[in-house]
Amino acid sequence: MPTPTGGIVGQRRWYYPALAAPGILWLLLLFILPFYAIAAVAFGGRDPIFALPIPAWNPLEWQYETFSTTAGELFSSSGLQAQFLRTLAYVAVSVAICLVVGYPVAYYIARYGGRLKILLLTLMIAPFWMSYLMRMLAWVNLLAVKPEDPGLFNRLLLLTPFVNDPVNWSSGRVSHMTVILGLVYGYIPFFILPLYAALDRIDTSQLEASRDMGASPASTFWRVTLPLSKQGILAGAVIITLPMFGDYYTPNLMTASPENTMMGNAIDLALQGQGRQPQGAAITLLLSAFIGALMIYYLVSVSRAAKEAQR
């Protein structure tokens, strides 16, 4: 970030805050305040007929029973805990795969894209223009197994010597892989882009300097490129990890099995259920707290890195 030059800012102190004000106001009213609505529902009551939530806007009237029961479930052996742990596992594996698959791609485009850079970037962005749900469904149809048709993907696999029977992708242990595939497929472009930006920013003279000092290309990569792209990796990871924690449609579409439900599914089910909105809101609060903690960790690490860079 450029350093401020006091004079102009001082002269026109109101000007820039005024530019930012509508956006900030918008976010306060439509982003921050709605969180309060979640809390009001989680700590509120229900009406006696439809069991719909009655939000408690006044914190003095909050009832903590639903919330503490839900939080208790999360910390004891229960369905909710199982879903939380499964979500953690899915997200961790998906992010790891995104890193392994995506890093080389981002690296290649940033360093060796050359004249094809624009084309490659366009292709990279292309999936954004096809509906996410449609892309998931495309996979569902590729993986579908029917009595007379094992599905396109299975047909390809059956050509290889490793697979002899069509795999039922939506059940048993494989179903976890199927959901992870869906998550990786859906989110990986969001991982690659910030990473690409970070890699593209690396000054090639630093790499040349390293090489001139006799470092092998491998050690240049490990000692210079990778550390310099660490913030990009972190940014990419953050930008996909946190939304994944709230995903529910990917498991719903990919397998529709209770074996694969995530935290988002628990929220979705509770919010849809008659009289379970307070529970849904409580799970949402717990999840938001978790995500908020991850985000704060990220921001702290970013500012620490920025300080180190200044030194």
Partner: protein
Amino acid sequence: MTTAEATLPREAASPRVGRLRSFFSNPWGKPRLLSVWTWLYIIWTIAPVLIAVQFSFNDGRSRSTFQGFSLQWYESIWNEASLNFDDTLLPALTQSLKLALLTMPIATALGVGLAIGLARWRGRGSGAANFLMLFPLVTPEIVMGASMFLIFSNLYHVKLGTGAQLLGHVTFSLSYVVIVTRGRLFAIGRDYEEAAMDLGASPAGALKRILLPLLAPAVLSSFFIVFAISIDDFVISQFLCAQDCTTIPIKIYSAARNAGNPSLNALATIMMMLSLLSITVAVLILRWFNRRQGTGRSAVEDFARFEI
């Protein structure tokens, strides 16, 4: 791959003797392996999309067995005489486009203002605002959708429908605009503006005459991003919809769980084509613009550089 040859390493401005050696000693230095990997990745991401497009032309009802070429599913969108005519498809398409087109200017205007304000305003509160701005980016949609639904129906009394969806979409896409614009601002630096102000321009004048023209590519890519986000959004649209507001993703999701047919593929294909067309036009305009202005980076690159 033939393309590998075309993509000479950027740093190899002069031919390097060690290139062949580094080919074997450094796994990351092998552009050829990397290029194969990159192209495989691109095929992997795009092939399912192409297959979905293919099934929009299926002569049968199946979305997994291709039974011959036909345009019947396209007809089912607008031809009332068609056997599979579904009169909810066209309204869904219009609703999606309407929302996206309304979201674009609002989110972009708010976001660009916020980005400039945050980048130049160093006073108290800017840190908090910067911090606040990042959260919508990483908040799961279900959390945003549910929270807006709860506050709209319990406190604001916003009628669920197009208006509520518009508020939701702007909120959801605002931060993306800020990120993209901020990246561009960072690249431009403050020199031009300060020079203008040293010559006596007011901040507003400097903004209008210097900064905004320089920001044009970022504004344009913000438009793309907002459009893409809005048109693809399912969760928030669904939470904030009551009637007259079914969008294509809502349609796709409900059909996915209610046995859809290839008319959805046709719909998704049309949307993709519309998007691609508008982007192409935008990119061409931008290229012409860049040539005149001599600002190097393209809008695609602006889009791609989204750093948080």
